[in-house]
Structures are given as structure tokens and as C-alpha cells.
């Protein structure tokens, strides 16, 4: 018995993970993902937990290496798009990405910006990032695309005297600020804790 749900969470990674975990609580376990599709099979409640991880900054090689590593750890890994991308051009410029990932196409991480990671519950909490240093890096990677969007929208808005792009810039500012606050919080904690 499979159940299909259609949802789109975009950049709201925690909301997506929370929803998947609620579905797992009801006994639904993910078997397939599509652009907006989540297909579940029915099982026992709370068998698995989910994390949603942003990997859009990775090159094709390191994205593959990372998901293989997670599979070797005994997790199941699904890839997911962060945008809907109805545009025809399947190429994106990502100046904020690591070397080898700056031109994203269908063959690389384009439309595969997220990993949904599933772990069989063993009574311990499921976290992928546990050290302060690593968390700071991860939130930094999440902040970069938003800062880039903010900059681009702000430039266009000033150049064209466009209010609309000014609004876009402000919208991009919100997630950038949220991640910035996280980073500052982690740095403050890291001052008194080793990891």
C-alpha cells in the first residue's frame, strides 16, 4: 500500500524534516521522491527518523562521495530539489559553491540540492552535524546562496530603480539573517565548549 503526497517546502529544510518525521510517526516511510511528490509505504509508526541536508554547494564528485558515505553508515538517502525550476535552462551559476560545483547542470547537483537522510530509530537522536565547528560550516553553506540572491536583487533594484526587486532583496535577507543568528549563537557557545 503506497501513499502519495504532494508538497513543496523550498528552502524550509526543518519544516520538511519535521513533516517527514510526523509522517513516520503515523507509520509512513518514504520510498520515492519526485519534484513535488513524496511516496510512502505503510509500516509501523516511528520506525525511522529523517534529516534534510543542503548539499547544493558540493561538486558532483563530493556530493556522490558524501551520499555514499551516508549509505555506508547504514542510512537511506534520497535526493531532492530545492526549487521547482520550471525554466527551460538547466544550468545555474553558483559562485558561492565549492570548486567543481560552481556551474550546476542536470548532471551535477542541479535539482538535487537536498538530501533526505533516513535512519532506523535506535533510541538516540538523529543529528548529522554535532560539533560547533562543523555546524558553523554547514550554516555558512546555507547562508551563502541567500547572500548571493540578496546581492543580485539589491543590485538590480538599484540599477533599475525597481521596488519589486527591492522587495525580493528583503525577502532574501530573512533566511540570510536567520542563518547568521545561528552562526553567531554557535560561535558564542563554542567559546566555552570544545565541541
Amino acid at each position: 500500500m503506497s501513499k502519495k503526497c504532494y508538497r513543496f517546502f523550498g528552502g524550509l529544510l526543518n519544516m520538511q524534516a519535521d513533516w517527514l518525521n510526523r509522517m513516520s510517526g503515523k507509520g509512513y516511510r518514504l520510498i520515492r521522491t519526485g519534484k513535488m511528490l513524496y511516496e510512502f509505504e505503510e509500516g509501523k509508526p516511528n520506525e525511522v527518523s529523517y534529516c534534510v541536508e543542503f548539499i547544493g554547494e558540493k561538486s558532483k564528485e563530493s556530493a556522490e562521495d558524501y551520499s555514499r558515505f551516508l549509505e555506508d553508515m547504514g542510512y537511506r538517502v534520497f535526493s531532492k530539489n530545492i526549487n521547482l525550476n520550471y525554466a527551460v535552462g538547466k544550468v545555474r551559476w553558483r559562485p558561492w559553491a565549492e570548486r567543481g560545483g560552481r556551474i550546476a547542470t542536470n548532471a551535477t547537483t542541479f535539482n538535487r540540492e537536498l538530501l533526505i537522510v533516513e535512519k532506523e530509530n535506535d533510541g538516540k537522536p538523529f543529528e548529522l552535524h554535532t560539533s560547533y565547528e562543523d555546524k558553523e560550516d554547514y550554516y555558512g553553506n546555507l547562508r551563502k546562496p541567500w547572500l548571493f540572491l540578496l546581492l543580485m536583487f539589491a543590485l538590480v533594484s538599484v540599477a533599475k530603480h525597481s521596488v519589486l526587486f527591492g522587495v525580493f532583496a528583503l525577502v532574501a535577507l530573512i533566511p540570510a539573517l536567520i542563518y547568521q543568528v545561528q552562526i553567531l549563537k554557535i560561535r558564542r557557545e563554542a567559546r566555552t565548549q570544545e565541541w
Partner: protein
């Protein structure tokens, strides 16, 4: 990683990874080793472990095992990594010695 190789101070995670890889292990076994050794006090997330393994490999302190039949990638501590671990042990011994003098053996 914030390891201070010159002064010898390693982070706890780095030191445990170097120790666990004296015998070859894959990622999952490293994670289990650290959890078991610390009674669950130190529990590494997979993403953090991945980053740590890569950065230690860049430093040349650990390396992937050349010939392993299995699909999983195994790592082992290099000669350089063992030197670093020995230095860390000496540094910790010194620290423990001084702490004993001051606090006593009670704990």
C-alpha cells in the same frame, strides 16, 4: 579543525579518530568505537564525522586503505598520524601529572 599541531593539543574528536584507526575501520565503525569508548558521552553525527575524516586525510594523518575487498571505504592512521597521537599522549600525561600533584589522586 582547530587542532593545534605545534603545541600538540588535539580536539577530542581528532584524538579519538586517530586512536580508533590504529586498526583499519570504516566510518560506521569509527562512530561506534568513539561511542563505546566514551560510554555515549561523545556521539558524532555522520556529517561531522565525514568532515573530520576528510580534513584528517588532507593533513596526512589518516589515509584510505589500499586493498579492502568490501564496498565500504576504510581508513587507517598513518605514521605521521601516530606521531601526532604519541605527542598528544605525552602532553596529556604531563597535564595529568600536574593535575594529580595539585588535586590529588582522589578522583
Amino acid at each position: 579543525m582547530r587542532d593545534n599541531a605545534k603545541g600538540g593539543a588535539l580536539t577530542e574528536v581528532t584524538f579519538y579518530i586517530l586512536l580508533s584507526l590504529y586498526t583499519p575501520k570504516h566510518g560506521y565503525a569509527v562512530m561506534r568505537f568513539i561511542e563505546d569508548a566514551t560510554g555515549g558521552r561523545l556521539s558524532l553525527g555522520a556529517g561531522t564525522l565525514y568532515g573530520a575524516l576528510n580534513s584528517l586525510q588532507e593533513k596526512g594523518w589518516i589515509e584510505p586503505c589500499k586493498d579492502n575487498g568490501g564496498r565500504r571505504k576504510e581508513y587507517v592512521t598513518t605514521v605521521q598520524g601516530k606521531e601526532i597521537a604519541k605527542k598528544e599522549l605525552a602532553r596529556l600525561n604531563e597535564l595529568v601529572g600536574i593535575a594529580r600533584e595539585i588535586i590529588g589522586d582522589a578522583v
